[in-house]
């Protein structure tokens, strides 16, 4: 194979970003836009319901669930860094903790919904608060469920001993998604439980 040498400046080594990270960043951007629309609708309709119940009457701060979800961001970060250091056992334990904490969060949401529907009689049809509350929190919960499914698969694979150091990049992409879901919860918490009350 012949080549034509061309004079040029000394090139730095050719390094491009990891495609998983970029792809996930794009997905997060698109998802963020979807959430922004739901948040805007929520804020727009604060105090515009024609009938009760109002957020101040029925909503309680979900402190415990919030602490669990935010902690799961830390454990998933530990799982990734453990995998980078080839500490597979630590990675598995942290993945298990992440799945557990995420599930506890989901349970607290389920309990809250049960309370609102069963005791307070608030459904998506009741008023604008119900409409915007269930769709925003429900959209977030859907993302938690998707994340939990993927984290559970990662956990199951690591129990089988199939997760190796070379998968650290992939686990990090998953952890990015999970951090995003947590960040969205911070916004939802502030809008629904602080601003909206």
């Amino acid at each position: 194979m012949s080549t034509i040498p061309i004079e040029g400046p000394i090139e730095t080594p050719w390094k491009l970003p990891h495609r998983g990270t970029v792809g996930m960043a794009c997905l997060i951007l698109a998802e963020a836009a979807i959430f922004i629309i739901f948040v805007v609708a929520y804020i727009f309709y604060i105090g515009k319901s024609l009938s009760g119940p109002t957020p101040a009457q029925v909503l309680e701060l979900p402190i415990f669930g919030t602490i669990c979800l935010l902690s799961s961001s830390i454990t998933v970060h530990f799982a990734v860094s453990a995998l980078r250091k080839e500490n597979l056992r630590n990675c598995t334990i942290n993945l298990a903790a992440t799945v557990l904490l995420g599930s506890i969060f989901l349970l607290t949401t389920a309990r809250e919904w049960y309370h609102l529907i069963h005791d307070e009689g608030l459904t998506i049809q009741t008023n604008l608060f119900g409409t915007t509350y269930y769709s925003l929190v429900g959209l977030h919960a859907t993302h938690v469920v998707v994340g939990l499914i993927m984290l559970s698969i990662a956990f199951a694979l690591s129990l089988e001993g199939l997760v190796k150091e070379e998968h650290a990049e992939k686990l990090e992409v998953l952890s990015l998604y999970w951090h995003f879901v947590d960040a969205v919860w911070v916004v939802v918490f502030l809008v629904v439980y602080v601003l909206g009350k």
């Binding site: 194979m1 012949s2 080549t3 034509i4 040498p5 061309i6 004079e7 040029g8 090139e11 050719w14 491009l16 970003p17 990891h18 495609r19 970029v22 792809g23 794009c26 997905l27 951007l29 698109a30 998802e31 836009a33 979807i34 959430f35 922004i36 629309i37 739901f38 609708a41 727009f44 309709y45 515009k48 319901s49 024609l50 998506i124 049809q125 008023n127 604008l128 409409t131 915007t132 269930y134 769709s135 959209l139």
Partner: protein, 562 residues
């Protein structure tokens, strides 16, 4: 010292296999993850919908041909303009542009495929399914109420017309689901294009050396994330309203119809730029090649494109001046809209400066590009007129607006797409498109376009509202509508010439060889059609025009680019 492989090495490839049994060919296309095949399927599917949408437009024009016409019923007329708009935006514009992007972006950056080939196939098939779903509404939308057939709520589907009470049956649901799924497919492909551009470039292809087409597709794809997602969110809300009794757009329960307008146009206006940026991209590649000059003002072009991307996010409510947003809101959107003509103006001047002093060759792709330049300018000028709120109060929702946005969508985008077909057809098939038929297509379509859309401005100024299914005689609209209808016939014949040309040239066209236009970007270094793996060895580039460097080693571009 960076070694650049010579052209023969880059395209050292096997002969493509021919004469496979039809079933295995179909199997190959359905299961393919090759970016070129997926790109071609996108384009083919968009062309089919282009013909369907065109037939709908013809039926609309026949209905408006003479006053008091009863060619179709009002109900059918509403369905026709809804289906025409939805089809042309979501199932012609988006897929055809994504098809070209799919085909060209990896080739131009010296990659062997997209970053996520299977996601690519998924995005295509979900979009194709969405198109079928929209048209299945003609058979399946009756529902229990036996009301409805195709959706008839207009392509922007304002609330509360979309509420269950006013739109019973399932026609609106088919519209919602089709648009939702097409949005999912668009976001998937956009994600793929961004990732491919950032992560798959060949050695030496820095951001500063990427062909402008790739830059524009990058900006367009980023815009898709922030523009199409709000529509996806709004469709979820509409579905919740219709199926579980939520009240987002239900005015009876305190919901707001204006909120839907905002959400729709937060998508709707950037969408115009999502469609027009790839059209700019084609012109950016074609004009320099046929002017025999490098593009004028590469950095300014990139900056203008990124600028358009950002500004386009802050102009949506110029569709809503008649809603009554108040003086502050109106003023903001008037200025934001006027500001966007600055970067687009920069682009027009750069194209003119590229042509200026060049050895211009008026081949068919260049003819379409020159027509694009004129027509895009006029579309921009009527756009500036409409961006002034008081002017818009007079002419909003009139045929003037219809004429304006068809100048953008047909006069600019479709003309650029035709240019792209004539330019890249030899690469895709290995044969040139017929020049004679191409010129017939160009002139017929040009005359038809101007008869239709130049004269369509006039009934708008005379007060003819859009979307009326017929009109009385004696209002002074008859002659204008007649001319508009005659233009539509010219356009239809021109379009048929084009479709015939596509087929005829595939079998009878002149052999094209690798590089029929003596062009400078990497796709012309591969054989026509390119093999599945694109490049036998990975190319290395040293400038924005790698093939110029290969053809002129004594005077490479890399000596001049900083």
């Amino acid at each position: 010292m960076t070694p650049t492989p010579v052209m023969e090495a880059i395209d050292e490839t096997l002969e493509p296999q021919r004469g496979q049994p039809p079933l295995s060919v179909i199997y190959e296309w359905v299961t393919t993850v090759d970016h070129k095949k997926i790109g071609l399927m996108y384009i083919a599917y968009a062309l089919i919908f282009l013909l369907i949408g065109g037939i709908e437009a013809m039926l609309i024009r026949i209905q408006l041909w003479i006053p008091n016409n009863h060619f179709v019923s009002p109900q059918v007329f509403n369905q026709l303009f809804t289906m025409h708009g939805t089809t042309m935006v979501f199932f012609v514009g988006m897929p055809i542009l994504f098809g070209f992007g799919n085909y060209l972006v990896p080739l131009m950056i010296g990659a062997r495929d997209m970053a996520f080939p299977r996601l690519n196939a998924f995005s295509f098939w979900i979009s194709a399914f969405a198109g079928l779903l929209l048209y299945f509404s003609y058979f399946g939308a009756s529902g229990l109420y036996a009301a409805g057939s195709a959706p008839d709520v207009g392509w922007f589907a304002y609330a509360p017309l979309t509420a269950k009470v006013f739109s019973p049956g399932h026609s609106t649901d088919y519209w919602t689901l089709a648009v939702f799924l097409s949005g999912v497919g668009s976001i998937g492909t956009a994600l793929n294009i961004v990732t491919t551009t950032l992560c798959m470039r060949c050695k030496g292809m820095t951001m500063n050396r990427m062909p402008l087409l790739v830059w524009l597709y990058l900006v367009m794809s980023c815009l898709v994330f922030v523009a199409v997602s709000p529509l996806t969110a709004a469709q979820i809300m509409l579905t919740l309203d219709r199926y579980v009794g939520a009240h987002f757009f239900d005015t009876q329960a305190g919901g707001s119809a204006v909120l839907w307008m905002h959400f729709f146009w937060i998508f709707g206006h950037p969408e115009v730029y999502v469609l027009v940026l790839p059209a700019f991209a084609f012109v950016n590649e074609i004009v320099p090649v046929f002017s025999r000059k490098a593009i004028f003002g590469y950095p300014a072009m990139v900056a203008a494109s990124v600028g358009i991307g950002f500004i386009s996010l802050s102009v949506w409510a110029h569709h809503m001046f008649t809603v009554g947003m108040g003086a502050a809101g109106n003023t903001f959107f008037v200025f934001a809209t006027m500001v966007i003509s600055v970067p687009t103006g920069i682009k027009i001047f750069n194209w003119l400066a590229t042509i200026w002093g060049g050895k211009v060759i008026f081949a068919v792709p260049m003819m379409f590009c020159v027509a694009f330049l004129f027509q895009f300018l006029i579309a921009g000028l009527t756009g500036i007129m409409l961006s002034a709120a008081p002017f818009d109060w007079q002419l909003s929702a009139s045929y003037f607006v219809v004429a304006h946005f068809h100048y953008v969508l047909v006069g600019s985008i479709l003309f650029a797409i035709f240019a792209a077909f004539y330019y890249w057809y030899p690469k895709v098939t290995g044969r040139m498109m017929s020049d004679t038929l191409g010129k017939w297509h160009f002139w017929l379509f040009l005359i038809g376009f101007h008869l239709t859309f130049d004269f369509m401005h006039v009934p708008g100024m005379l007060g003819m509202p859009r979307r009326i299914y017929t009109y009385e005689a004696g209002r002074g609209w008859e002659m204008w509508n007649l001319i508009v209808g005659i233009g539509a016939i010219f356009q239809a014949i021109g379009l048929l010439c084009f479709v015939y040309n596509l087929f005829w040239s595939y079998f009878q066209g002149k052999e094209a060889g690798h590089d029929p236009w003596d062009a400078w970007t990497l796709e012309w270094a591969t054989p026509s059609p390119p093999p599945a793996y694109n490049f036998a060895i990975e190319p290395t580039v040293n400038s924005r025009r790698p093939l110029w460097d290969l053809k002129h080693p004594e005077d490479p571009d890399s000596d001049y680019e900083g």
